[in-house]
Symmetry: C2
Subunit: 317 residues, 2 copies
C-alpha cells in the first residue's frame, strides 16, 4: 500500500515529545509559527546532503539521520547558538517505510539530545537528498563569527583531525564498526554544541571544520584580514591518522580532508581556557597563533614552513 505524502509526514516526522521550545504552531499548517524569546536573536543555517556526493549510496539510514542533523548542529555550534527548531526537507526515490523509520530514529535521537523541535518539512519524490534548515537562539548581541580573530590570538581546535576522511575510506570498503574511531567520526560525527556555547564569552572567532582545517581556517583568516601559523607537531592526530599520513607520505592530508565537524577558534593570548574542556565536553588543543602576515602557514618540526590553502570544495574535484 502506497502511503501518500501527507501520511508520511504524519507517520514519521511527528515529534510529540514535550521538551524544548514549543512552536506556537508546528507541523500541519502552511507555516510553523515561532516565538523568539525577548532578549534573543535567531541563528539560521541550511545544509543539503546528496546521496553519492555527501554520503555513500546505500548508507545506513540510522547513521544518515544522525549525520544530516549533526552537520547542521555543527553550524549552530560554530556561532555559539543554542539549538531550538529544525525543518527537514527530504527527497526520496520512493516511499520505503523501514528506511524512513530508521532515518527518523537516528534523526530524533540526536534532536532530543539537544531539545531540538521539528517544526516542519517537505517530502518529495526524486533522487535521495536531504536539506535541513536549523534555527538556534543567541542572547542579543552575542555570537561567534569568522571575522574577529586578532593578531596575537591563540588558535585552538577541538577533538582530532582526519578521522572522518579515513573513516570514509574504510566505509567505502564496507567497514561499519562504530568502535573504530575513524568509522565513527565519519558515520556519527558529534557536533560541538556545548563547546560553541562555552566559547561565546571567550573566543574572538570560530568556524566548524566541514571542508578541512586548511580551507575552513582560511575562511577565518580572510574574514578577519589576518594570517596564521600552525605547528604540525601540535595538531591533534590519532594513531590511525598518523599511520595513514606515513603510508601516503603526505603531511598535508589531514588538513585537506573534510567532514570532521570539529571547531576551530581563536582566543586572546593569556585568557584562561582551563574550564572550556569541561564546559564544552571535548578536548581542545592549541595549534598555532594569529599573525599579521596574510596566509596560513604549516610549520613542521624541521622548521620548514609551507603554505596551506587547499580543502574540499563540492564543485572543484
Amino acid at each position: 500500500m502506497a502511503l501518500t505524502e501527507f501520511s508520511v509526514i504524519g507517520e514519521f516526522f511527528k515529534l510529540d515529545a514535550a521538551y524544548g521550545h514549543s512552536p506556537v504552531i508546528g507541523i500541519g499548517d502552511d507555516c510553523a509559527i515561532l516565538d523568539v524569546p525577548a532578549g534573543y536573536q535567531l541563528a539560521v543555517s541550511t545544509d543539503t546532503l546528496v546521496e553519492g556526493v555527501h554520503f555513500l549510496p546505500g548508507s545506513d539510514p540510522v547513521h544518515l539521520g544522525h549525520k544530516v542533523l549533526a552537520v547542521n548542529l555543527s553550524d549552530l555550534a560554530a556561532m555559539g547558538a543554542t539549538p531550538a527548531w529544525v525543518s527537514l526537507a527530504i527527497t526520496l526515490p520512493n516511499i520505503d517505510e523501514p528506511w524512513l523509520a530508521a532515518f527518523t530514529e537516528g534523526f530524533f535521537a540526536l534532536a532530543s539530545r539537544y531539545s531540538l523541535r521539528l517544526i516542519g518539512g517537505d517530502t518529495t519524490r526524486g533522487p535521495l537528498s536531504i536539506t535541513i534548515n536549523i534555527m538556534g537562539l543567541l542572547p542579543t548581541g552575542q555570537r561567534l563569527t569568522r571575522s574577529g580573530a586578532c593578531v596575537g590570538d591563540d588558535v585552538y581546535v577541538s577533538g582530532a583531525f582526519g578521522n572522518a576522511g579515513l573513516g570514509l575510506l574504510k566505509a567505502r570498503s564496507g567497514a561499519a564498526d562504530l568502535t573504530d574511531v575513524d568509522v565513527a567520526a565519519y558515520l556519527r560525527p558529534q557536533p560541538c554544541v556545548e563547546l560553541g556555547q562555552a566559547l561565546l564569552s571567550v573566543a574572538t572567532s570560530c568556524i566548524d571544520i566541514s571542508d578541512g582545517l586548511s580551507a575552513d581556517m582560511n575562511h577565518i583568516l580572510s574574514a578577519s584580514h589576518v594570517g596564521a601559523s600552525i605547528e604540525h607537531s601540535a595538531v591533534p592526530l590519532t594513531k590511525s591518522v598518523v599511520e595513514h599520513v606515513k603510508q601516503l607520505d603526505d603531511v598535508f592530508w589531514p588538513y585537506a580532508t573534510g567532514d570532521d565537524y570539529q571547531l576551530c577558534f581563536t582566543v586572546p593570548a593569556g585568557v584562561d581556557v582551563g574550564s572550556l574542556e569541561k564546559e564544552g565536553r571535548t578536548k581542545i588543543t592549541k595549534i598555532g597563533v594569529i599573525e599579521e602576515d596574510l596566509g596560513l602557514r604549516l610549520v613542521q618540526q624541521s622548521g620548514e614552513s609551507r603554505e596551506l590553502n587547499k580543502g574540499y570544495e563540492h564543485f572543484d574535484e
Copy 2:
C-alpha cells in the same frame, strides 16, 4: 574555469539591495543572525522542487527562479505573514554560469518585489533540485490557519482554477508564451501575499492551493472538523479551462489539478469583504459555504451533489 562552491555563492546569491529587513549577519558565516522585531512572531515554511517532478526537465531558469520562490511565498500568504527572509539550497549537476545568472534573475526579481532578503544557502552537486526555507513576520497572536472554519462561514477563492494544470499540458508541448493565461499560470504563478495580509483581520481559515482545490480545501475541513458544499457554477474558471473540461467531459478536472497557488479561505457570513479585492490586489469569488456534515460536496447546476476528495499527491500517482 570551474568556479568553486564558495565563489558561486558570492557571485550569484549575493543580494546587496538595501531594502527589507536587514539581517544582523547575512550570507558568509556559518549561520545568519536575525532580529525578530518586538511584537512579532516568525512564520516559517520549507518547500523542495525537483526537476522532472515539480518542473519539466530543461525548464527556463528565469521562470524556475521565480516559481520556486512563488511557491514558498504562497505558504506565507496562506498564514497572512509578511515576507522577511529566505534561504536557498540549490543542488546542480554542474556549475552552469548562464543558468545560474538566469535563475537568480528570476528569483531576485520576485524577492525584491516583496522586500525579501536572501540570508543564506547551500550549493551542492547532484541532480537538479531546489529547497527554499522562507520566513515571514506576523503580529504576535495574529495568523490565518486551516483550523478556524465555522459552520455557516462563506467559502471564497482568489483568482481562477485549473489554469496552471492546463498550462503544464501546453508547456509539455513546448508552449512558452506568457501572454497565454494558462502558460503564465504554470510558469509564473503570482503568490497572493497582499491578499493573505488583508485576510488577517477577516478570515476564519485559509490555505494556499498547491495540490488542487479539492485536496487543499479538504485540509481546511479536516483541521476545522466541518464540511462544505461548493457550487460548480460559482467556481471561477477561465474560458480555456471551461473548454478543456468540455473536451475531457470531466467536471472534476479543475478541482484535482494543482499548482495554481490561489488562496481558499472562509469568512463569517455577513462580514463585509468589499475592500478585500483592492487590498489583496486580486479577484475573489464566493464559491460555497461551510456546513456541519463532514466532507466536501460539489453541487452541479442540475442539483446533483458529488463528493470531492482527490488531489495531486507526490507519491500517489
